[in-house]
Symmetry: C2
Subunit: 356 residues, 2 copies
DNA sequence: CCCCGTCATGTATGCGCTTACATGCCGTCT
DNA sequence: AGACGGCATGTAAGCGCATACATGACGGGG
């Protein structure tokens, strides 16, 4: 398809032969009649090269299709221009949005982002960080501060600046860019308490090794304890964050013995929507006899029946702020500790006064 | 927090002094009483090293916290173990799922994945690929085959194996792993035609530089043409893939002059759900007086009111297959051209016979 | 008119690792 | 017994680039 254009690139035609290799700086230098030092300067410190020479070098480089070999550059300059981000999975809007923003911001500064997915496994997380460090990342953003000690040891040992993204507990030993999960769920629960609710159910994600989920549960319990209340074990449901698990949990919950909850707090919007779906299927009036809350404010939350009361966090802003923090760290400037982001309560139609 | 453990790592305490640097292979070699060649072999070809020597080296390496410097390794071995993937944005379930699967699969083979986001901009796409090539990627997956010629020239010139992901038009000049967008929408439209629909509206994503969207429109037109039908300009809506655009497009459409469409084909589920929301708001009976279709089969599609008729593509399978293809290419094995994936029609409640 | 500073460029070293080749040891076959 | 082959390891040469330092040209001031 583009065969005709290959001819423009001298060494292209040879790409089938084993001798073919990408051009090097020395090839560009030879073709431009300068030394490799000047080629290097033309790209890395253009002001140090005479404009005419520089243009000649650029022209030759373009003609040869030369791209500076990053491995060579990294070795010689001791700079990789690489940063890493460790997340549980890309397959989740929240993390994808954060990574997207982080990458966009770092990329604008010429930094390439390596993405490591732990799949919610601490050992895999540690391994991913090991690989990233071997690749020479100069900064690292980590989702969640619950990690193996070795992970923090490795990055501290190498003096790599890092930041914990998404979480931001009040007394973290780590630099954080995020919000306080516990405070957010405290606020949410307080809101429901103020509506008169006294019996609660909770449907949440797997809490193993997950400080965000644990903090959320703590926030709920803290608010309840303030009123002398507690969660009944039969009202707590832990499982995968799917519509299905939200549905079956609500079903089980309402079929159970003892006092029926008047409010269901869900670990995220997906679970809440599942609960909403089941409530509709069972003919339960939401919010008349049951209030339901979510977390994340997915775009769909506004359009469920009834619209979902939830909490919103600006994930793109978190990603951008994390990038900004790392960037100032890389410049060896003072690390300005960010105040936590605020999770915003979005009251919609899925919550109401108890017994309304 | 982990200060007590730092003491276990000899050079940690010095990380504040400017002289501190990560250990090198030669440090490990010295501490283990061998040469750097043996250290290298212990990690890259363990069977060539006596078990006792190997264990000693591993122990010393762990103690020193040594990680092989990837830049040095890449330079010497001419292997970077890097692959790239070019996508429009991570902020979209479909691409995130594909990348997640691709990365999981390649990572299992020791390959690190570089992710480049084009933000639907051809120049940015080209630039991202340029950066990836400079970093030494040995393989590349690209979403969408509509790219600047320079992009394909660059990768061909370097002999980097690549694969187009997601799309799979019948006569592509590129190796593809994906499905035939045109055929999928042909099938979908055919289904609606068989239900008796004759007047159609289309609400779709921006088509500029987007071969997937263009192919989908072509599929619709092809099916209609088979019945001597065509789309009226006032029934075509192009805009961002949001609920909001789906809503306002349906509203505008139904308020417009001329014959009212009995079926609305949406470019994806988000637009379709927007249309569904608007239809409910307007009190329009779906599917009684209006059929609505989506594409992607988002998890929520099953639970809309009415449940959404849509098409499903296994994005994780595409990512995995793309990784598999690149892996065999890297082994210089025969490239087995994959047959296209099939987009599966999922008939639910949002479509029905015309005028039912 | 000479000296020295400035600027543009060249020279040459080494970043940390892999690997072809060299070395030396030991066991085995003739 | 001698030769030879195989094996474990060492030696040393780069991989492609950036950069400290050297060089040389040029110009201005004393």
């Amino acid at each position: 398809m583009y065969a005709h254009t290959y001819a423009l690139i001298p060494w292209c035609g040879m790409r089938d032969s084993q001798t073919s290799r990408p051009p090097r700086a020395i090839d560009v230098a030879a073709a431009a009649g300068v030394s490799t030092a000047t080629v290097s300067r033309a790209f890395n410190a253009p002001e140090k090269v005479l404009p005419e020479v520089r243009d000649k070098i650029f022209a030759v480089a373009a003609e040869l299709g030369w791209l500076p070999n990053a491995a060579g550059a990294a070795l010689a300059s001791r700079r990789t221009w690489l940063a890493g981000v460790l997340i549980p999975t890309l397959d989740h809007d929240v993390f994808a949005a954060q990574v997207n923003a982080l990458q966009a911001h770092l990329s604008a500064s010429g930094i390439t982002v390596l993405i490591g997915c732990s799949n919610y496994d601490l050992d895999e997380a540690t391994e991913q960080v090991r690989v990233m460090l071997a690749r020479g990342i100069e900064a690292l953003a980590i989702v969640g501060e619950q990690q193996r000690p070795e992970l923090f040891e490795m990055i501290s040992a190498r003096g790599v600046p890092y930041v914990v993204m998404y979480s931001h507990p009040p007394k973290s030993v780590h630099p954080c860019v995020g919000f306080d999960n516990q405070a957010a769920f405290f606020k949410l629960t307080r809101y429901l308490l103020d509506l008169g609710h006294r019996t609660f159910a909770v449907i949440h994600q797997p809490s193993l090794d997950n400080d965000r989920v644990l903090a959320r549960l703590a926030g709920i319990r803290e608010a309840l304890a303030g009123e002398g209340l507690a969660l009944r074990p039969q009202h707590i449901f832990e499982g995968q964050a799917t519509f299905e698990f939200g549905r079956e949990s609500l079903k089980t919950c309402l079929a159970g013995p003892g006092p029926r909850p008047t409010a269901v707090i869900c670990g995220n919007d997906t679970l809440a929507i599942g609960a909403l779906i089941e409530a509709r299927a069972m003919g339960i009036d939401v919010p008349g006899t049951l209030s339901v809350t979510g977390f994340d404010d997915l775009p769909i939350a506004e359009f469920t029946a009834p619209p979902l009361t939830t909490m919103r966090v600006d994930n793109a802003a978190i990603g951008k702020a994390a990038a900004g923090y790392l960037l100032t760290q890389l410049k060896r400037q003072a690390a300005t500790p960010q105040p936590p982001f605020e999770a915003q309560l979005i009251v919609r139609g899925s919550t109401g006064p108890v017994g309304a």
